[in-house]
């Protein structure tokens, strides 16, 4: 049974923070095409604050995810603050108290992500939001799990599905948030939230696979 410890898992959040910091400009540029160009700025501010907090108050994966969730919800605001705040809160609550994280724990955590975000967001697949990345990714993981595949294989399939989901937003018409008012003009451009979500799920998969080896 391939697993990694909750403690080692803190590395996942560290890597997610770096990924957001490195892609701050990229994410803002995408958001600028059909939004107000601040997605990278908002995410970077929250993830960087989390970095500072974790440096003084380190802990395992669940702990780190909880800190990130609290900061996003309480400090960042915008539309992404509450959304990613709830996403990380759902993820953390499923993992807290678990020493080892394997395919079943990860499955429950991914589902926790999805259910908590869907509790406050009316977004459905096809609305050109981060949901269009998250839903296929979680489904792919759960399918691989049901088929008895290995943890690292399920993670890879989750990552691949996230990429497909992100790219599918290109030709979608935005139904929610700022871009929704653009109608036709919102087609032909990736959704910023779907892109950042794909980025983060990719880091989750890669780092977990590394830890599991």
């Amino acid at each position: 049974m391939k697993t990694f410890s909750n403690k080692e898992g803190a590395l996942i959040i560290d890597k997610m923070i770096l990924a957001i910091q490195e892609n701050k400009q990229y994410l803002s540029d995408i958001d600028g095409l059909i939004g107000d160009g601040d997605h990278g700025i908002n995410m970077n501010k929250g993830f960087t604050m989390c970095r500072e907090e974790l440096d003084n108050n380190p802990g395992d994966l669940a702990h780190s995810a909880k800190i990130l969730s609290k900061i996003l919800m309480m400090k960042i605001g915008g539309s992404m603050g509450p959304l990613y705040g709830k996403l990380y809160r759902g993820f953390a609550s499923e993992l807290s108290g678990k020493d080892e994280i394997g395919i079943s724990e990860m499955g429950a955590a991914l589902e926790g992500m999805l259910s908590s975000i869907q509790a406050i967001s009316p977004a459905k697949p096809g609305d050109k939001t981060l949901i269009d990345t998250l839903v296929p990714a979680v489904e792919a993981f759960k399918k691989a799990q049901a088929e008895g595949k290995e943890f690292d294989v399920a993670l890879d399939e989750m990552k691949a599905a996230a990429i497909v989901g992100r790219d599918s937003t290109k030709d979608m018409l935005a139904q929610l948030g700022r871009a929704s008012r653009l109608g036709e003009r919102s087609r032909g451009v990736l959704d910023a939230g779907a892109t950042s979500c794909c980025l983060l799920l990719g880091v989750l998969a890669d780092t977990s696979i590394e830890l599991v080896k």
Binding site: G37, D38, M73, M74, G77, G78
Partner: protein, 334 residues
């Protein structure tokens, strides 16, 4: 970008730091430096009035904190909804024991953050009710009013709610009056030039020289159409063609008119637009009871104006006449 800035990511903090110094006789800080309150808030025995939103709309939102107006405000980053914590801290700062009325604009982020803040307030036993402003007509078609965004009409909602609370009304009465105010309010914007968020460094939308965007939102959200810039009288006709039938405003109605510049349009031009709108309302037999012209709800340095009309009844009139003192709106008892 031709701006007075130090660190672009600190503009809101520096602005608020200065704001509480300049208006020390009216407002003060709270433990949350992004929540500013009326100096004497919470006012015991008065319904607390709270609002909040992204910064960059001066005087909104912090500029409407004051006597008989807003008791506490949550200030987000530029054009970005304040997080739940800020709304929650503002609710606590305004709670005088008779409940809190949260009067804000219909934006996705605000709705989510307000919902979370209200949950927390409920856990703490503070009764909070909300009114969501949706006066921006072009932001959603007739029949889908609930999807419409809130713009300058929010000011009239605060004025009415603030007065009602000052008169000692209950939470439900304050909410009912504020809801009636916004329900009878319609707005539309026309944009002539874009603005840039300091941290982003360049405008997110463009309006070409010689063009105008009819129905533009005040974060530059796209409007009904982009067309050639027209004389003020023609634009006034467009305002009326969209706004009047939507409520509808009819002959014999008494209204408040509020023309707000979007930031860089000289106030002189705003009076010219008012002049042209006043003529049309007169022709239609619509009587102006009270009018405001100036930079009441801006969007950084956007050029353009929004036109807001509210249909009055005796209660709304009484609230509009009520004395108030805030940076954005001062009124001696009429």
């Amino acid at each position: 970008m031709q701006k007075f800035v130090n660190d672009p990511s600190k503009v809101v903090d520096e602005m608020l730091e200065a704001y509480v110094k300049v208006h020390a006789d009216l407002v003060s800080t709270t433990e949350n430096e992004r929540v500013i309150k009326y100096k004497h808030a919470p006012v015991k025995g008065k319904v607390g009035i709270v609002t909040g939103g992204g910064s960059g709309h001066k005087p909104a939102f912090v500029g409407y904190v004051g006597r008989n107006m807003v008791d506490a405000v949550a200030c987000g980053e530029i054009f970005s909804s304040p997080p739940a914590q800020m709304f929650y801290d503002a609710i606590k700062a305004a709670d005088g024991g008779k409940g809190v009325a949260l009067l804000y604009g219909n934006y996705a982020g605000d709705n989510m953050n307000v919902a979370m803040a209200m949950d927390e307030a409920e856990d703490e036993g503070i009764e909070v009710k909300k009114v969501v402003a949706n006066d921006d007509v072009p932001s959603a078609p007739k029949g889908e009013e609930a999807k419409r965004r809130g713009v300058a009409g929010e000011i009239l909602m605060w004025k009415v709610g603030g007065a009602k609370a000052a008169m000692g009304a209950s939470l439900d009465e304050v909410i009912a009056a504020a809801q009636k105010a916004i329900k009878n309010t319609r707005s539309m914007g026309v944009g002539l030039a874009p603005c840039a968020i300091p941290e982003v460094g360049h405008p997110n939308f463009t309006i070409e020289e010689g063009k105008m965007e009819v129905g533009i939102g005040h974060h530059g959200e796209p409007g009904i159409e982009v067309c050639d810039l027209e004389p003020s009288a023609k634009i006034a006709q467009r305002f009326c063609n969209v706004i009047l039938p939507d409520l509808p405003f009819e002959s014999g109605d008494e209204v408040v008119v509020l023309i707000s510049g979007l930031g860089s349009t000289p106030v002189m031009e705003q009076y010219i637009v008012f002049n042209d709108i006043e003529k049309i309302l007169k022709e239609r037999g619509i009587k102006i009871y009270l009018s405001y012209v100036g930079n009441y709800f801006t969007s950084l340095e956007m050029a353009g104006v929004t036109c807001t009309l509210m249909k009055l009844d005796e209660e709304l009139k009484e609230c509009m006449d009520y004395e108030c003192d805030s940076v954005g709106m001062q009124q001696f008892q009429r």
